[in-house]
């Protein structure tokens, strides 16, 4: 992946509107907080104080002040939300990576070789697109049981067809271009052509899909965790914290609202940045 030199429509970074800049800062802040969680979290996220459960923000117990309150086991909500950000981000980044690699490879192979390879792959895409991804994910995770790796694989392997469709269509277009023919005649192998010539030329549209999917993956992860199908307790993720908090909506609303607000801000910033990125890579979509 060293040579992603996709053709940028403009040579240098275009202007970012102020609003997008602000959103980008927000996104960076969330990511930095997540990465730094082990150093900035005031408490161990799994440290329980059974006698200080469901306390409101600002509560102090045994010289510890819980800035955002405590959860149903007296754990510091702020620390759990910070650590939860790591899980939510890691799951979505990795599952996007899995589906990109799988989807793009299949799409390029189908578009390059055509024939029965294409039929096989594209029919598989049809099958996967005929079932709502969330339903398939719920089913598989319910059956496999929760776990970080399982979650990443399930999310990644239910979403690859979208990439395949795009990569397939793009490969078809690019494969017909003269310079590809030229390098084929010069004796370059299929693998080399696909990776060195076709991939860079179709990276733009794929990046658009990946960004949109990234926001969706964050939502999926939290949705599955919310249904109790995420990672193993006591490891926190935003969805699992909210899933517990829902039981205490009246008594301790902060347990739902804090991770909920974070989740919203993260997905919101990803979506805004994704829109901006799409307009930048594919200016036609804006002018339309």
């Amino acid at each position: 992946m060293a040579i992603i030199t996709f053709p940028l429509p403009r040579p240098r970074l275009p202007q970012m509107p102020l609003s997008v800049v602000l959103v980008a800062i927000l996104f960076v802040v969330i990511v930095v907080l997540a990465v730094l969680a082990p150093w900035i979290a005031p408490q161990d996220p799994n440290d329980q104080s059974l006698l200080a459960r469901l306390r409101p923000p600002g509560y102090t117990y045994r010289d510890v002040t819980y800035l955002l309150g405590t959860d149903d086991l007296g754990r510091d909500l702020l620390s759990r939300v910070l650590y939860g950000a790591r899980i939510s981000l890691a799951v979505s980044v990795l599952s996007v990576a899995v589906s990109t690699v799988v989807g793009v490879s299949l799409g390029m192979v189908a578009g390059w070789y055509r024939g029965w390879v294409e039929t096989l792959i594209m029919r598989a895409v049809d099958i996967m697109m005929s079932i709502p991804a969330i339903l398939l994910a719920v089913l598989t995770v319910a059956v496999l049981g929760p776990g970080f790796i399982k979650l990443v694989l399930v999310l990644g392997l239910t979403r690859w067809p979208r990439y395949t469709r795009v990569a397939f269509g793009q490969t078809l277009t690019v494969a017909g271009l003269p310079f590809i023919r030229a390098s084929e005649l010069a004796g370059a192998g299929a693998g080399r052509i696909l990776i060195h010539h076709i991939l860079p030329n179709i990276a733009g549209p794929i990046l658009i899909v990946a960004t949109a999917e990234f926001g969706l993956m964050i939502l999926f992860e939290s949705g599955l965790s919310f249904l109790g199908l995420g990672i193993q307790p006591p490891t926190p993720s935003w969805g699992s914290i909210m899933s517990v908090g829902r039981q205490y909506l009246e008594r301790a609303p902060w347990i739902v609202f804090v991770p909920g607000a974070c989740l919203f801000l993260l997905v919101f910033s990803v979506n805004v940045l994704g829109d901006w990125l799409r307009d930048w890579i594919d200016p036609r979509s804006r002018s339309r």
Partner: protein, 306 residues
Amino acid sequence: MLRYIVNRLLQAVIAIFGVLTIVFVVMHLSGDPTLLLVPQDASAEVIANLRRQLGFDRPIGVQYLDYLGDLLRLDFGTSVVQRVPVSQIVAARVPYTIELAAGALAVALGLGIPIGVVMATRRGGWIERGLTAVVVTGQSVPTFLSGILLIAIFGVLLRWLPTSGTGSISALVMPSIALGSVSMATFARMTRIAILDELGKDYVRAATARGMRMDQTILRHVLRNASIPLITITALEIGNLLAGAVIIETVFAWPGIGLLAIQSIQARDFLVVQMIVLLISVVYVLTSVLADLIYGFVDPRIRLMR
């Protein structure tokens, strides 16, 4: 055209067959419901007997062929948990999901189209930016979170709306909004694009040149022409709404097929899960075929895109 339709439907049948196989294998590999059915003090012998009686001791291939055979005769089987024909169990829940999907669609169209129209016609101003924020927000709030928020505010705090239950318009309001907000964003975006497309066309320029007022033009011509891609999107969104219902029905305890699916997965009630998946896939596939047809009908060039 006819050949295209037949071809597309044939593909759809293969796709649905594939989906059923995946679901069948995933569910059966993970163990059967026998252990969930017996009381705690059942002996190994009783469990083995029940498993044999229910047919779960047979090789998975045999069970699969058996299932397909029944399916060909349109026999969906009898639930081992409820001892009632699966078709009855699912049929009893379908109306609730239709009601919810209709409510959500109403919310999505009712808000999405006007927002899209305004965004397209008031370009570049604060209004557009504000509405863009609204649209992105709609996309960014997970349905379960908006569900919880609505329950917390209007159900628990203000007590304006019932927190659960069915059968009245007031009970339908919150789940419809929670489920419809994502589709609302899609409709707003698509309306904006469709209208911008139309506005660039000659007849609009001609109309404005003739001195027709802009809002009249939009109402009279642009919206009508822009509605074809919107119908396509609507068809596609129906499938997404059904999928979204899985989570939102759980949050609101709405007794539709989404909640039934979750409960049946937990209870390992295989046949019920398979019928729901079949049902949703059929709707999903049919609506996308329909969308393809409308699209292909209007513009044969974009048949591949979706």
